[in-house]
Chain length 296, copies 2
């Protein structure tokens, strides 16, 4: 499988701390580079992570609250100054996209590269490639907000030994089997179930900012964990989630691993967060700034 | 003398590097806290420097180019979230102030503290206190741009020994002498020249972004040094200064010390900059991110 790289650029909520910057997550796969949210400082964090701020293909904004978008004007201006030419796509909730555009153009900005604004209007596939796609997923916050799911497509790996036994060498047969189709060969019907191995694609979900919601099955889940249970009322009031709630969502989504994200500045220690999460869901980490995860 | 603290929060030009953030300079004196420019990341740099982003009294913006203002929306939102109540004054060039306001309000923002916008229209005193004032000074750039000068007022220190010899114990006499006035005492005229010592106040000038310009006499000068002489054409074209030009300005201003500031990302080493400057002006440093200078 192709390596799938994720870097947490900023992991605080609302305001930065010495240790945590503002929300932005970098995802790289198959030569494509994406950003989810763009809090203030994202461009510098990309540099510190050794990733190029100029070569992003698309930016997916969950919602228009300042801590998720104030890094956009600087990042886009730097792309222009660095001579970017290829189009940049920015996906953002339809009802507030115009305010994000105002933010980007408040200081006159006419980039030489095409800047393509894409309103998100519900659950939809936003980006499609041969090996993967990215879709939006409605969340529950004080303004129109979407989570984003990276979905690697399932693929079929040929069982070469079995095909060699039969004497099959025809690439047309291979192609059909890989596409999941039955093939007639030498009077027999070869089924993809028998001659290929189904390799399930990986799914990564980024769900921030949100009250607890049911989400589709994902393998790796990055979820809003702004508060501890002791602040549940505050979480409810501000439409965020507690660590326990994040763990419960991860469990129901059948995730392999949970990253607690969007951590309130009031929590300086990881242990109380991990302790609360582990009562519900074992494989959990508190996302850290500049932490790089490589899924191979 | 009261300590005068200066912290360089970001020292790059146009785009950040791993080592240098975007322009912002913090100045603290007599319980007052000021920011000159507010590039992206200024609030986080303040935290890293151990200074409170919430308690600034005023922000002085040189001009509206992105690298000097993109930190404003985040900083102001954090002030609000941190419960600030006292007014904040923002000074910016009159002709472009409205665009900076758009930037701050593009994402709806109605702070509970008074946000007072002050257009700067030429050379004028903008902030006055008993011990100091801050004035603007027109610079030469591609848009209306001002430098800012912090001026500590000269003061008279009583020559107590001489006054004691005469037997003067009257605080009214002291007050007049300190104010620089002659006083009649016991039939004699006491002159402030004879009975006080004139202590010259310190002056700090922040002159960025600009082509070389004549500036008023200052003791500490922070000057645009975007390029080396080898890129003089580029400096001319973009209305910036070279290191040599910055050194020449510092010399003519009678400065004690020059800080090279607004360093192009193309220069990763300090030595070539220092070498070029020292041919003209000896006491020079390349400003570094989070460098704190305490003038006592």
């Amino acid at each position: 499988m192709q390596p799938l790289k994720i870097v947490f650029l900023g992991t605080s909520a609302s305001v930065p701390t010495k240790e945590r910057g503002l929300p932005a997550v970098y995802l790289e796969y198959e030569g494509r580079r994406f950003l989810f949210d763009c809090g203030e400082g994202a461009q510098r964090q990309l540099l510190l992570a050794g990733k190029s701020p100029t070569s992003l293909d698309a930016i997916f904004i969950t919602h228009y609250h300042g801590d998720h978008v104030f890094g956009l004007p600087g990042l886009l201006n730097s792309m222009e100054l660095n001579g970017r030419e290829k189009p940049l796509y920015i996906f953002a909730p339809a009802s507030t996209l115009h305010r994000i555009r105002w933010l980007v153009h408040a200081i006159p900005f006419s980039p030489s590269f095409p800047l393509v604004w894409k309103p998100v209007k519900g659950r939809e596939v936003l980006w499609e490639e041969k090996l993967f796609y990215i879709e939006s997923y409605p969340l529950k916050h004080s303004t129109e907000t979407y989570g984003y799911i990276f979905v690697e497509r399932d693929r079929r790996k040929l069982l070469k030994d079995k095909l060699d036994e039969l004497g099959v060498k025809d690439w047309k047969v291979y192609r059909k089997l890989k596409a999941g189709e039955e093939v007639e060969w030498n009077g027999a019907v070869l089924s993809p179930e028998d001659y290929t191995l189904l390799v399930k694609g990986r799914k990564v979900g980024y769900f921030v900012d949100t009250a607890p919601v049911e989400v589709p099955p994902v393998d790796y889940i990055i979820f809003d964990a702004t508060f501890l249970e002791s602040e549940r009322e505050k979480a409810k009031e501000t439409l965020h989630s507690t660590v326990k709630e994040a763990a419960e969502v991860a469990k129901r989504a059948g995730a392999k691993k949970l990253f607690l994200y969007h951590i309130s500045p009031r929590y300086r220690e990881e242990d109380p967060l991990l302790e609360e999460a582990r009562k519900v869901f074992g494989n959990v980490e508190v996302a850290r700034d500049l932490q790089e995860i490589v899924l191979t």
